[in-house]
């Protein structure tokens, strides 16, 4: 039963990923659509960060926000992504103590 669920989840996850590979060569996008698609990564990053970041510690939304704020500062200083990630983890860990 669980395997049937896994196969089903796999199919409905694969199909939306796969379809664009087949259609993208068949259509020529107008200029505005290309600009839209080029903006998608940044919009996706925004939507993935907020408001999800407030659920890092479910009952205390400020903990995630503080961790995110530290990440913004570290990233702004030009640190490598790994250091940004580690800095945020340490911040949240200290707040959770």
């Amino acid at each position: 039963m669980i395997f049937a669920i896994i196969i089903g989840m796999s199919l409905v996850t694969m199909i939306p990923r796969l379809v664009p590979a087949y259609i993208v060569d068949k259509i020529k996008f107008p200029d505005w659509a290309n600009r839209w698609l080029n903006a998608i990564p940044y919009a996706a990053l925004g939507a993935l960060i907020f408001p999800g970041i407030m659920t890092v510690k479910a009952d205390q939304p400020h903990v995630g926000l503080i961790g995110g704020f530290v990440a913004i500062i570290l990233a702004y200083l030009g640190l490598n992504v790994i250091l940004v990630v580690l800095g945020a983890i340490v911040t949240v860990f200290l707040f959770a103590l």
């Binding site: 669920i5 939306p16 990923r17 919009a43 925004g46």
Partner: protein, 242 residues
Amino acid sequence: MVTKAINKNEASQSLQIIQRGIAVGFPIMVGYLPIAITYGVLAKQAGMSLLELTMMSVLVFAGASQFMGANMIAVGAGAVEIIVATFVLNFRHFVMSLSFMNRLRGIGLNWKVPLSLGLTDETFAVSSLHTKEAKMEKGTLFYTALIMTAYFSWVFGSFLGGVLGEIIPENLSQSMGIALYAMFIGLLIPSVKKEIKIGLIAIIAMLINALCSMFMSDGWAIVFGTVLGGLSGIYLLKEDHS
């Protein structure tokens, strides 16, 4: 002699590109491992076997929906409910895949298909910020190496979580929950520093997502945030011909 030298040169060039892909994918690995371990622990507690929870990572490879799936299995939800919820949650990958595949135009389907299957929020975000490689001769190797790094750390981490069970202290694994958000921030900020309008696109998407999540599921809210937020790029990216 000459052809041998050329072959050798070509092989070392491929190796270099693969190494670069792994290096660029490394932050994803750092972000994935703790989350995959947490997933493994949760799925085990939900009553899934080690084989089942590892196979879910192999076949689904989508973090949030796997957490949700394990949870729904734990509370005894039906198969159809779980599968429909997974579809809703992961539909955002359609939009991301469309954007990614649009950059890979001209590359054969034999590469496009496996690359599209390896698309997650994280592999998409990192790949999209490395656009030069899409035009390079062996660029597909770069994206393949990046995605494989992410994929193996996700599968291995899930397995490890299933084995480790409850050994990991809760406040440590909870602190790790910030990892992927911090990675997204770490990816976004350098682009914003170069072009402030990019920050505006991201903020618009955040606000639309926050607004939508008040009256729809998280999955759809992210889809709307991404699609509608991206529309602002039609105006904001106008002068930019990159």
